[in-house]
Symmetry: C2
Subunit: 207 residues, 2 copies
């Protein structure tokens, strides 16, 4: 998974792998196809990456990270909603499908699992938790809330929908989700008119 990106062929190889993934999914990505599409000898691909997953992991890097940066624009609640919207958008995109394909692959490949965690998952978790802790200091989040757990639940729900239940997942779900299990400040009430058909009331969404 630790590849050396400095090579003239590297970019072509990653682009080729990325294209094939978009067209035919992960099973359609083969080292032979990558080489052919990149106009490169198979040995050149193997020179830099041991597996197709490693190629894709590197190809994912620049494409994924900019999409899920954590905002610090407004209240914790609003920032959380917009970040989760970004994740939902991502999951619906080509890049997101690639990422999720690698998540699936990580079940059988410890290298992939480790790389995903070190490059994306851990950072995202950390950012989310830091944002929530800042919210705690500002009094927007009750101090006794278990932030690890909250993050598990929020993002777990997204992954669950995409990977397991295959229920539809649109941007509206972000607000429904956050308002549903939101650990807001005590006696918090949302302004009138901010309710988008979410079934939970302000009081009921309190942790």
């Amino acid at each position: 998974m630790t590849a050396s990106p400095r090579s003239r062929a590297a970019a072509q190889i990653q682009d080729a792998a990325w294209e094939i993934l978009a067209e035919r999914g992960l099973p359609g990505v083969t080292m032979e196809e990558i080489a052919a599409r990149a106009g490169v000898a198979k040995t050149t691909v193997y020179r830099w990456w041991p597996t197709k997953s490693a190629v894709l992991m590197d190809a994912l890097r620049e494409r994924l990270l900019p999409r899920v940066a954590f905002p610090e624009d407004g209240s914790v609640r609003d920032d959380l909603v917009s970040q989760i919207e970004a994740v939902i958008d991502l999951f619906g995109s080509e890049t997101g499908r690639a990422y999720l394909a690698l998540v699936a692959e990580s079940m059988h490949d410890g290298e992939v699992a480790t790389a995903l965690r070190e490059r994306y998952v851990d950072d995202q978790r950390r950012a989310a938790i830091e944002r929530l802790e800042k919210g705690k200091r500002k009094g927007e989040v009750l101090p006794e809330v278990d932030l690890e757990l909250l993050v598990d639940s929020l993002y777990g729900a997204l992954y669950y929908r995409v990977l397991v239940s295959h229920a539809p997942l649109d941007r509206a779900y972000a607000r429904r989700l956050v308002d549903g299990i939101w650990p807001g400040e005590p006696n918090r009430r949302r302004p009138a008119g901010d309710d988008g058909a979410g079934p939970s009331t302000a009081e009921a969404s309190m942790i």
Copy 2:
């Protein structure tokens, strides 16, 4: 995925596939290996199942369902905790690894995805939601709670830990999880001594 289980060789084939999965993981399962291990011609395997996933799906059937039945012993909260404990136990078991391997496979195979949903996921969701609705009728759950969302969050957190963050997942997490985002009845308080270092207080865990 729609196999015909009536055949003398069927049981041996499923057992063989199951053994191989336990020993070498899903990538190690091949139609050739299944046939060899079962002491059966390769054509016989193909006669009944089109893919290795289909074989495993059927092999999973009797092994999985009995493990995650939904209890109706006590309060909703307690039943939820013990059912989630059962799921956590499952995820740590051989059967659970097999199930999760198929979940991962379902990313790339729509047949597997549909079969999993129809056989397991939808039923489990339905059982959980029915149990929670019963709780609503008894006043154990606030009527405005979004049950779909709650189930997404609870079970999503489990899948998230196992598939994505690879954080440790033990039985204690079940109570931590339920008490953390638990939509209990209004002004509910847990009895003293029931607190196992969970960071959330009774008030704070209210939705």
